[in-house]
Symmetry: C2
Subunit: 403 residues, 2 copies
């Protein structure tokens, strides 16, 4: 008998038929003797519908009230799922944010789960009850409703798994696992059976968006075994473990890409301490997320060139900030909004020599120009022209034996 946290995303509970189907999945697990806590998202489209209502009232809607508004979505799903379980003869009960309670820190719309009271739910589980918890929300120490950011139901699931000391945390979604690259673009993409937290993080942060990254980080920190699987098929999903418990036969696990990127290069930047901070501080203050940063070694030790990538949507805002800010000194600024980032990811990379060379060689063979390069222990990313994206992914997927 295991204690399991099962999380069902928006499309998994998008209609009443799907909610009834999810109830059956839960009942099968429960009948197998497991203790079940289910975390649910809002029905697909619901959160956007509520957001639209708020925007129709005000583009700058009161943040406290926005949390009250949005949290109703998961409340609805929780009640419907508990009702569906009752209908098929299971003993089930929803537990709202304040009933547990789920205590959070931080601001409205961006809170962080810090604790939960486990006593009454554990008692209910020991009496063969199935507990349903709305994802994405909690309450503050002041007793206000809080939400924890889009995709926050994953974070709720991992937090519940940690605080209730669950044996596994299973993320049910509309894809059947994590793939070696985007199966919609590259038909030979393969589902990965096992992956480390780190690889998962690198893959999910660059396009293969199966789980919210901060939830994977939390799972990694507390070593909570995850499994991503499909609500709609019975196929095995992808298990996400501690790196050490995975046997790496391949040096590269997957090829990820990110669309909608833009690149900015500042040439002739003064090469002295504090300059990078001067550049990135105003961007950060304006909620602009800088992804890759590449600084070339300056030959004269006086000036240097700095390249970084941002989301394409943030380009015009970023350019304005850089131009308006008198503290930022450079000789020339260029930008390119038609780029994409291609990354090869693999925990085995660090111990396999020649990966970097192999990647650059393959792209050169395809006459793909590399605009920037960035590396980490388990990832190697390049910025290329957007038009070369599919060609690059296909080539790398083949070269690294992933087909």
């Amino acid at each position: 008998m295991a204690k399991k946290v099962l999380k069902f995303g928006g499309t998994s509970v998008g209609t009443i038929e799907r909610i009834l189907h999810v109830a059956k999945i839960i009942k099968i697990e429960h009948d197998a003797g497991h203790q079940i806590i289910a975390i649910v998202s809002a029905m697909s489209g619901k959160t956007n519908e509520l957001l639209k209502l708020s925007k129709d009232v005000s583009e700058n809607f009161n943040k406290r009230e926005l949390d009250v508004l949005l949290s109703s979505g998961e409340q609805v799903t929780s009640a419907l799922l508990a009702g569906a379980l009752t209908e098929i003869g299971a003993n089930s009960k929803s537990w709202l944010n304040w009933q547990i309670p789920i205590l959070t820190d931080g601001k409205n719309l961006n809170a962080r789960i810090v604790n939960m009271n486990i006593e009454s739910i554990n008692k209910f589980l020991s009496e063969k009850g199935i507990a349903i918890i709305p994802g994405f929300q909690g309450i503050s120490r002041e007793g206000d409703v809080t939400t924890i950011g889009r995709g926050g139901s994953d974070a709720t699931a991992v937090a519940v798994a940690k605080i209730f000391d669950a044996d596994t945390c299973e993320i049910y979604t509309d894809v059947d696992g994590v793939y070696s690259t985007d199966p919609n673009k590259i038909p030979v993409a393969k589902k990965i059976d096992k992956i480390s937290y780190e690889e998962m993080l690198e893959l999910s942060s660059v396009g293969a968006k199966v789980m919210q990254s901060s939830a994977v980080q939390t799972a990694m920190m507390y070593n909570i075994p995850l499994e991503v699987k499909s609500t709609f098929t019975n196929r095995e999903g992808t298990k996400i473990f501690d790196q050490e418990s995975i046997d790496y036969s391949k040096s590269v696990t997957g090829v990820a890409y990110s669309k909608d990127d833009a690149k900015i290069t500042l040439m002739g930047v003064e090469d002295k301490p504090g300059v990078a901070a001067n550049i990135f501080e105003p961007l950060s203050k304006n909620q602009i997320n800088v992804d890759m940063v590449i600084q070339n070694i300056s030959s004269d030790h006086k000036t240097t060139d700095l390249t970084f990538t941002i989301k394409r949507d943030d380009l015009s805002k970023s350019l304005k900030i850089l131009k308006d800010n008198k503290d930022i000194k450079y000789q020339n600024l260029s930008h390119n909004d038609k780029v994409s980032k291609i990354s090869i990811v693999g925990a085995g990379m660090v111990s396999t020599p020649g990966i970097t060379y192999k990647m650059f060689r393959s792209l050169a063979d395809e006459k793909i120009n590399i605009l920037a390069i960035s590396t980490s222990e388990i990832k190697l990313s390049v910025i290329i022209d957007e038009s070369d994206t599919v060609k690059a992914i296909k080539k790398l997927h083949t070269v690294f034996d992933l087909d």
Copy 2:
């Protein structure tokens, strides 16, 4: 400066434009120096939409979870209205059932408000804040979400007015007050400026459905001044007072009617104690609401005839109960599902002789057959053929000087 409870029904908050309009109404009252607590219903159609979702899951949906589901409707409106008030520069905050809390007794779907904590809201009001409370709901002593029956937002408004010791309770709705009869049927119907609780009760229980009856009863019990008015016009509404503070120039205040009635007559019922209880107990246990009951005096002191009316929807169920139950003895059973009830209502009736005669005479003049009669201190009701409904209302409206 007064403390005011303002309640806005489903159509009043049915769209974002209407919510913004309601915010303006509230702000005008607040700017005039009043302390405001606003009670809101779910946006029109929302509760039915949620009910339909529950029925798609199960015809016999878990009652505890149904309350969790339904209560989300008013939560959404509360957040949107508080956000709309913020948008126009007012300091406003929603207070959910558990945040106040609104303590209820009784069962799910049919709970009753017993208390609220007034401290933090009163503090907020004294700091010029506008408090928004979702109607129709509360929490039980066990900490479960409860709802208080359809139309329950009226009951919330009156309970809040009582517990917070408000000066008035204003019910904003989609009609501009209580009318002397149905203005859709009888064009000469007139809006009543002032009416007693008792008259309002009699009128609202027989068709002029402006406010939930039990809310009027509570207001009467605690002498809370009510006002029913339109959200969409600036016209004066109808004020509902204690009977003694109204000057009655007319003996009859209004003519009400109820559609969808059915009549059952049991002939040859044994005339001895306990017989009526035997008949009505099984009906009551099956949630069938018996309205008028007329028992004729028996000539032989052995058997009697018993007539009563019920909702037409309940007719076949009622007939089955009466036929199946061996404890209920009678010689003959007849029923008529094409009847309606016409009532003249007026607190001045009791002190005006000849009203009864005048009513019967008028109906006879129109060749309308009276199938049953029932009287109370401020109401005189007759059961007639449904096809005579409009003719009867028109005649009585004229005869009693209401045109």
